[in-house]
Symmetry: C2
Subunit: 403 residues, 2 copies
């Protein structure tokens, strides 16, 4: 029976784990008390108080003057995550824009910058340097709010693994060491960021994380997330964790085959979903100039846009029902260009799901097909990845006490 | 940022964790020494000795008289998992047979019974009672070898969740509380098994676990496992864990659509993989009486069987390439009827994979398409599930010391 051995547990590890547990509990509650935390996590009140003191010293929690009576007994001083100190720097680089945000420990977007520019006309290193300039500018604004980056997350439109963009066809990138190039460009502009941890992933994964952490999914933690753009990106979240696969390439729902003899796809296959439900294919089929034009004309009842959307919805439904049969998610979230097209896409998708999903859990009344929240995007997911690291190991990220 | 809070860590929990760590390390090594265990898990030699003493007391480890020099220094007494005491009882109920095995802590199959009978002609309760009779008989044989069941695993041909078979179309079962019925029937025959933990799952999942724990995959821990039978079962293993989905229904690769307008499937959809690559469809297309007949005639170069196998392989390849694009596994394992048909199926499957997988990692030379091992089956996976529980928490399963 082959089983891996995970690391030993020891006393220092226990305290580290419990610091994280307390910080995450406060983070999740937004505002709470020591007593409520103790009741929630099952540690004694003195143990929680000691952990809270350390988190206050680290600058990761703050006390507010007010007291309130939580669900767990006596009134107590209110604890909140700090809105100064370590923050997540989120950077999305896409075909025609760069977006940067800085998110504090409370989960609030504190600084946001978007720059529209065509990233196809420059070398990868130059594009990453552009992104670093936008990020440096955002960090200046963040510093005025007493926020300093604990790390950076990079959302990129391609296959990403081990810090490198293996390929990003829409940018023309191959084997680009994006994390290193971005980190160096940022450190050249702001020497204080030298050595800042940088974590990269593809934009579809980052958008799914944003939906998980900052979206409107509530307790729902196993879902499939599609991002309709020029391609169709996909990400799989299982029990609150991104499923990345063996090499980091999981989630390529845009290349599920919906018609084996269909048009050739840039991936080399034929009849991939994105040949029907990607933005380019959809606009061409509808003879529309852009997505707002498509939505407007569908809303006005024009037959060709309506037919194009119904066809795309059917193809989406085929691919999604296959993914649902494989993965058994609680919901499917449609992001990118899809939320604004839901009125015309959703009925066809829902019909395919109702017919093709074996478990029988996907009748249209089950409300399992949802538009992505308007407030989440890949840059926010990238920032969230940094916050996730801080919450998972507060000791590694808090300030040196007394400094 | 919505994050769940996992249980607190404490001292008793740490020891429990480390007992498991040591037991699993010995289990994995087969034979080892205290010093080698200490080196492997990173605990001190005295800590490991104390943990080993407790595992010897619990009857889960034994010392052999011999000593040997492990990789980590001084010679020491050899430690092995006990081949008496707690064992896994694995039970597979399928359409026309029941198989039961008893597997000891070393991972060895010590007792095995198969009874061929048609389970479609009896009520579910009667079928489970038949299985309990075979199991009771196997447990009598196990007792003679001083093995007692620590639990039972049930592998069932259908959608299984929460101890219940939600539906098993090939058995005609709906909402059958299989765990409870089996447990009661077994306890009626052997009162000493009253209260024995019973865990059920579908046969495809159990077969994948058998491959993971007892197969020839080596270090490979992220794979897709297909079982070709009347239907086509599927299971997904990610980093050594079964991916069950939100409701336990993940892995239904047999219902991936390979031709949207194809023949109607018993699931209500059209053009599902099992309409092309399931045993019934394949034998009909080849005009063969059974699988050995098909293999024999394909081996003799008869055109119709060869064409049927190539067509089925192409459809398998389409579905599998979709699953690979979604899940990015290291390998795809073909079990059930497929291993004996590999020479004629594999080329078509491999060609589809090479063309349709986006990551480019699936060219035929990569050797990612494999037949299942001959020595694994669903009953062995079911028994493994019990062993897994014992290895994960030895304290809950060892004998009362001194008893």
């Amino acid at each position: 029976m082959n089983q891996p051995t995970e690391p030993k547990a020891d006393k220092a590890g226990v305290r580290r784990h419990n610091l994280s547990l307390v910080l995450r509990t406060v983070h999740e509650a937004g505002e709470t008390t020591r007593a409520a935390v103790a009741a929630r996590v099952g540690l004694t009140r003195p143990a929680v108080s000691s952990l809270v003191e350390q988190l206050l010293d680290l600058g990761l929690l703050v006390e507010s003057g007010k007291t309130f009576s939580g669900q767990a007994g006596r009134p107590g001083t209110v604890l909140k995550p700090a809105d100064t100190g370590p923050a997540g720097l989120g950077v999305e680089i896409n075909v025609d824009y760069v977006t940067v945000c800085v998110v504090d420990l409370t989960g609030t977007d504190r600084v946001r910058r978007t720059e529209h520019l065509d990233n196809r006309d420059a070398e990868a290193a130059e594009v990453l340097a552009r992104a670093a300039r936008v990020a440096a500018d955002a960090l200046d604004a963040a510093a005025e709010r007493r926020l300093a980056p604990a790390g950076a997350g990079l959302a990129l439109p391609g296959l990403v693994s081990g810090g490198t963009v293996r390929q990003a066809p829409n940018l023309g990138w191959n084997a680009v060491p994006a994390e290193a190039l971005f980190g160096e460009a940022l450190a050249a502009l702001r020497p204080d960021t030298a050595g800042l941890p940088v974590a990269s992933d593809n934009e579809a994964n980052m958008a799914a994380l944003a939906e998980l952490w900052f979206g409107a999914l509530g307790d729902l933690r196993t879902f499939l997330h599609l991002t309709g753009e020029i391609g169709v990106g996909g990400a799989i979240v299982v029990h609150g964790e991104l499923l990345r696969g063996a090499h980091g390439f999981a989630g390529e729902i845009g290349h599920l085959v919906v018609d084996a003899e269909g048009p050739r796809c840039r991936c080399g296959s034929r009849g991939c979903l994105e040949q029907y439900a990607g933005q380019t294919a959809l606009l061409a089929a509808a003879d529309a100039t852009d997505v707002p034009d498509l939505a407007r004309r569908a809303g006005a009842g024009e037959p060709r846009p309506l037919a194009a959307l119904a066809d795309a919805g059917r193809m989406l439904g085929r691919a999604v029902s296959g993914a649902v049969n494989l993965l058994d998610p609680e919901a499917v979230v449609l992001g990118g260009i899809y939320p604004q097209l839901m009125p015309w896409l959703a009925p066809a998708v829902a019909e395919e799901l109702a017919t093709r999903v074996v478990s029988g859990l996907w009748d249209p009344d089950a409300n399992r097909l949802r538009p992505a929240s308007a407030t989440t995007d890949a840059s926010r997911g990238a920032a969230g990845l940094v916050l996730h690291d801080v919450l998972s190991d507060p000791l590694a990220y808090g300030r040196v006490p007394g400094a």
